[in-house]
Amino acid sequence: MELNDEQIHRYSRHIILPEVGGKGQKKLLSARVILVGAGGLGCPVGYYLAAAGVGTIGIIDNDTIELSNLQRQIAHNTERVGMHKTDSAKKTFEALNPDVNVIAIKERITKDNILDFIKDYDIVVDGSDNFPTRYLVNDACVLSGKPLVSGAILRFEGQVTTILPKEGHCYRCLFEEPPPPGLVPSCQEAGVLGALPGVIGGLQAMEVLKLILGKGEPLKNRLLIYDALKTSFRKVKIPKNPACPVCGENPTITELHDYEAEYCQMRL
């Protein structure tokens, strides 16, 4: 693959970086990344990956756009209320950068389909808004050996971590199991300040670019915690847990399970 004149212009700020160059840009153009969720986190992650020229971006989401999403989900817009989020994201990202092929997957992920969805991609990005999906994505990535860049947000707090199966920790090494449904907050308790997913999604996009380029240190064995009210970033250690039920020495989870049934469906 050779960069054409338009690409040389478009990616010039990448090419002049010693850590990227034309070779790094070609890696980005041939990379394949799949996003779980086209919401608060999926929008900025996909937007920046598209701008950076990540050649193939898959997006899984079964939801349609609601007016209440637009306070933070920047790939969608007012005219598109009612449209599938994945279709809207595809339009936005491909308009930003025609080099990018966006594959819209209008499905709800389950234990039966997730391995099929992720198998053709290099990196998985979790921007889901619920625990059942988060644990399912983690388990699927560990079982299939896919790098996973995980982000989560609530109110004024965000968490980011990069999971490299076999090399480092997984989400269950961090939190062994999802909280019981009775302990998730009610609608009134859960909100998100609009720019928070931009901060956390931006960090996730950066982790993805670093993984593709093979540069820097991924956020492996660390959890980054952002407190927007204090404007503080903290990192804590996440050792790989030898007793982890999915990536430990004697795993008890060797196939995927759905947790969905245990949870009430809260829409935000």
Partner: protein, 81 residues
């Protein structure tokens, strides 16, 4: 002084910064360590910035010369990947 024979020559006349450097960098990326790149350009600022940037990237600047009223020639040896 012994004349250095370039392994590759690019003519980037008409280009301005940062595209002068972008083109030069892409050219040198495709070469082997030890090979020599000759760049012909006419953007005055680039005659200063390209040698500096190439040195920052770890390459050796062998020559910077104004060859007529408008053009410069810069010769760089690739020192590292």
């Amino acid at each position: 002084m012994e004349e250095i024979k370039p392994d590759k020559t690019i003519n980037i006349k008409g280009l301005v910064c940062p595209y002068t450097f972008v083109k030069s960098k892409l050219a040198i990326e495709d070469m082997e360590v030890g090979e020599v790149l000759e760049i012909i350009l006419d953007y005055p600022e680039a005659s200063r910035s390209i040698p500096k940037s190439m040195e920052d990237h770890g390459h050796k600047v062998l020559k910077v010369e104004k060859i007529n009223d408008t053009d410069w020639v810069i010769v760089i040896r690739k020192e590292r990947e």
